[in-house]
């Protein structure tokens, strides 16, 4: 093929470049945030950050938290995004061991209680927390004159036979969190506890959606079980997303000692980013009161920033357990597979 005439090709190229530049005057930089699929935020909150920093924020929902972390680890040599949000304390060790985050100590950290700062090197910064708890259908218990169980132990009582639905910890992070609560409470004998639950007719399903919407009698699915492993914030969501105005939530949580497991979600700057300064600003922004006060009604989680004000529905209908179960991320990382296997050996036999 004959090459293009030199002046002609230059002319074409330059006019093309001119067109490109004239189309987008002062093109703002782009900041890409990798998230799990449950991430949500208000438009005007993001807009405020974009306007303040002349940046376009792009979100990349990348599956559930496990899938997202997998993708980030596989692409750590050429990261798909600048910032990743949504690794929780059950996956934190894995992310830190693979060394995918850059260290950054945000000045906003001073407003965050120390109990949430699980990474002393500040590669992963806490953003929100939520408690996985058992929700119960208030009407069922009232109608049947049944006392609501107050602890993990009481769930073994025969009057609760067949009333609890849980998620499989192998396929559901909610299910894993509840398994971890029993591990934290019972130690090595947690398998005996699960054997007792099994004998008492506990129902196991694959994930939260099935458990809550198909099996739980307190939700729209009107299923057969009156207790479900869900979140302490779910009763508030039932009021906010009610079909008609409700003056009270149809569900509530069981808050006994170690009956709930605390999940903390983290954000981090992905190594290899070209937008270091902007990424740091985004972390500060996620910890700011504006973002932290937006989170509860978007994702139904609690802010870690102690200055953030909670919405009214949260204060009224969502409860915070006084003694949630916790395990260190290192302990979880070291034993997670073995615990799940031990659980499966009891439940799936």
């Amino acid at each position: 093929m004959k090459p293009l005439h030199f002046p002609l090709s230059t002319l074409l190229l330059s006019s093309f470049l001119f067109l490109l530049s004239s189309c987008a005057p002062a093109q703002p930089a782009t900041l890409t945030i990798m998230t799990h699929d449950s991430f949500a935020v208000s438009e005007d909150v993001v807009k405020a950050f974009e306007d303040a920093n002349n940046v376009k924020v792009v979100f990349l929902p990348s599956g559930d938290a496990g899938s997202m972390l997998n993708k980030a680890i596989l692409t750590k040599d050429a990261p798909l995004a600048d910032v990743m949000f949504g690794v929780d304390n059950t996956f934190l060790s894995r992310a830190l061991d693979e060394d995918i985050f850059e260290s950054y100590a945000s000045p906003e950290l001073q407003n965050i209680p120390d109990e949430f700062k699980l990474d002393p090197s500040n590669r992963a910064t806490p953003v929100d927390y939520g408690d996985v708890c058992i929700n119960y259908d208030k009407n069922y218990f009232a109608e049947n004159n049944l006392a609501v169980p107050q602890s993990l132990e009481e769930l073994m009582k025969p009057e609760y036979n067949g009333l609890l639905v849980v998620e499989n910890p192998a396929t559901s992070s909610t299910g894993l969190a509840f398994l971890l609560a029993t591990v934290a409470h019972y130690g090595d004998s947690f398998t005996d506890y699960w054997q007792a639950l099994k004998d008492n007719g506990v129902v196991v399903v694959d994930g939260w959606e099935t458990a809550y919407y198909t099996n739980f009698s307190g939700s729209s699915g009107k299923g057969p079980q009156s207790m479900v492993v869900s979140y302490a914030s779910s009763p508030a969501a039932e009021v906010i997303f009610a079909e008609t105005l409700l003056d009270d939530s149809p569900t509530a949580s069981i808050l006994g000692p170690d009956a709930c497991f605390r999940q903390i979600e983290f954000v981090g700057i992905l190594k290899g980013t070209q937008n270091h300064a902007l990424a740091e600003k985004f972390i500060d922004f996620m910890l700011s009161e504006q973002f932290q006060e937006d989170m509860p009604l978007q994702m139904f989680v609690y802010p870690v920033n102690q200055n953030a004000v909670l919405p009214e529905a949260f204060l009224k209908y969502a409860q915070i357990p006084t003694q949630p179960a916790t395990l260190s991320p290192a302990e979880i990382a070291a034993n997670r597979d073995a615990w799940i296997q031990a659980w499966a050996d009891v439940m799936m036999r």
Binding site: A40, A78, N139, E143, V204, K222, S234, A237, E243
Partner: protein
């Protein structure tokens, strides 16, 4: 009978001098047919998959313990897939006869509705079954109305539920592929057998069934592979006790971070798929006879026919329409238990869920306006139809007249159906990285799944066209394009429609969602449904049902429209 194979044999029988030249020419022409489809498969499938496998596979996973555990999973995967396929054939073949041989009121609608489950998200199907069979579902309400004192309980085992779900999802494959072949059968053969004194059963067993063999095999293969790699159904209904290779790969890769073991399992799954496909290519003799006047469908006449059609229509309606109808019903119903009166569930009519769809109440960045979701879904689906037909036609053409090359390529075509979506998705990530953010890649991912369907739907029909028709046309001076337009296209009308319907529904059902990073700016309807179902609250549930109803209506309308789209008719010559 003229078949591709016989034509080839005849050409090679002609003069020995020309044989080398012919041979080269045939190879070159088939190679040119293969160029586009193979390039596509290499880029979208073989390259990313081999890259992730090479990246993660390690010999240390080849332990005796791992293999022993795997053996159990492999056996169960084969067992459930075989049983599901047989059940699907049992319902699918009579239904194919019903739709291609008989006319009845509401036929197109019923046929379109059988395709709807194929693309509904598993969570929605589970919800619809629940609202039908559940403790507060329609059936139990009805039952307790009839027999107020007895209580209604229906608790099929997880295994039975999986089989039923597979039947619900995949019957449409058999109906479409076998149905297209049935309509193309030469009625003279059956008439001849009947005039020789054979009763209808013998005609069916000795004439029709053998002629249908290629299409039944093609349909069985597709159904089998879909059941074999079944994921959502097993996770959702398996009650966490049953696992297939596909769910095991997901579990190892995403939950346990054991990518080496996941890679090993993917290879085992691919090898199984390959073995099944090779078996298929070996036994599927591609010889159907093309009929210049295809068998017309008519109203049932004899008592036997009336009995057959009525009972089958009743069965299909109960099995497909009842669970599907529960979605629109639920999307318009408020289910409210008055405080303190739990046992009396109050039903009330409401359009709130639909109205709420149009309001971004929480001002979320990820709010999906319903019309935008519909538009995105339709755009992706149309692009998938065009792309998969464009790539599928030349490949099906080459496969219909197989040379040695095709015998090797034939089983490879099916591999995308047998590969784990999780591993392929990870392969895409490490191969194409940041390009994945481009919405253009979505139809490509959907085409990857649609292509085997398009090829398998077209290939038996193309093989049924006698070469003498094409030769006659070229002798009369028609250009190759004119031959294709006037001979092939009219005969392939039904098969092309079936292929297009598959491509369309596969894309609408968002099969590629797990493959790629989805862009929140271009959400589809299934993405919107998942978003609603991921949070508690009656309004969210109702909106998910409303969105699912929209998806259902959209699908039904699109399928009816595709079927209305008539290509030039075959009866011209």
């Amino acid at each position: 009978m003229y078949t591709g194979r016989q034509v080839n044999r005849e050409t090679s029988k002609h003069g020995n001098k020309a044989s080398l030249y012919t041979c080269v020419r045939v190879y070159l022409s088939t190679l040119s047919l293969w160029l586009l489809p193979l390039t596509f498969l290499a880029l979208a499938f073989f390259f990313p998959l081999s890259k992730i496998l090479a990246f993660t596979l390690s010999p240390s996973t080849l332990t005796l313990e791992n293999l022993r555990n795997t053996q159990h999973v492999v056996l169960f995967t084969f067992y459930q897939a075989t049983l599901s396929t047989l059940l699907t054939l049992l319902l699918g073949i009579p239904s194919a006869i019903l739709f291609s041989r008989f006319d009845f009121r509401g036929k197109s609608l019923l046929r379109a509705l059988t395709a709807v489950p194929f693309l509904l998200p598993t969570v929605v199907v589970a919800a619809s079954f629940n609202s039908l069979f559940g403790t507060h579902g329609l059936l139990s309400t009805f039952y307790s109305f009839l027999f107020p004192l007895s209580s209604f309980t229906l608790h099929p085992s997880p295994f039975i539920l999986i089989l039923i779900a597979h039947l619900f999802y995949n019957t449409t494959i058999v109906i479409r592929i076998v149905g297209a072949a049935l309509s193309n059968l030469n009625p003279k053969l059956e008439q001849a057998a009947r005039s020789l004194g054979a009763d209808s059963l013998r005609v069916w067993l000795n004439v029709t069934l053998p002629l249908l063999r290629p299409s039944i095999l093609a349909a069985s293969l597709l159904v089998f592979l879909f059941d074999f790699t079944s994921f959502g159904v097993i996770l959702l209904l398996g009650n966490s006790q049953l696992s297939t290779l596909e769910t095991e790969i997901y579990f190892q890769a995403v939950r346990q971070f054991n990518l080496p073991l996941a890679a090993l399992l993917s290879i085992i799954q691919l090898l199984c798929t390959l073995a099944v496909s090779i078996l298929y290519s070996k036994y599927a003799i591609r010889s159907t006879q093309y009929a210049s006047r295809s068998t017309p469908s008519r109203r049932p006449k004899t008592l036997k026919q009336k009995l057959f059609t009525t009972s089958l229509i009743f069965l299909l309606s109960t099995f497909f329409i009842l669970p599907l109808a529960s979605l629109p019903f639920r999307s318009l119903t408020r289910l409210e238990a008055d405080r303190g009166q739990r046992s009396e569930v109050q039903y009330g009519f409401t359009t709130d869920y639909y109205k709420e769809l149009f309001i971004n109440r929480r001002g979320s960045v990820f709010y999906v306006p319903p019309f935008q979701a519909i538009l995105n879904s339709l755009t992706y689906a149309s692009a998938t139809v065009i792309l998969s037909i464009l790539l599928g036609f030349p490949a099906a053409f080459a496969l219909a007249h197989p040379t040695r090359l095709e015998k090797i390529l034939d089983p490879l075509i099916m591999l995308p159906l047998g590969s784990s979506a999780v591993m392929l998705g990870l392969g895409f990530i490490i191969t194409y990285g940041k390009w994945l953010a481009s919405p253009w890649l979505v139809p490509f991912a959907h085409t990857l799944i649609a292509l085997p369907f398009v090829i398998r739907a077209l290939q038996p029909a193309i093989a049924s066209i006698p070469n003498r028709l094409r030769q006659a046309a070229s002798t009369l001076g028609a250009s190759p394009l004119e031959v294709w337009k006037n001979i092939d296209l009219p005969i392939l009308r039904r098969a092309t429609l079936a292929a297009a319907t598959f491509a369309f529904t596969i894309s609408l059902g968002e099969f590629g969602a797990t493959l790629l990073i989805s862009r929140p700016e271009y959400p589809t309807i299934p993405v919107a449904i998942e978003r609603f179902l991921s949070q508690p609250g009656g309004l969210n549930y109702g909106q998910a049902m409303a969105m699912a109803t929209i998806l259902m209506a959209l699908t039904t309308a699109s399928i009816l429209l595709i079927e209305k789209f008539r290509l030039p008719n075959a009866s011209e010559f």
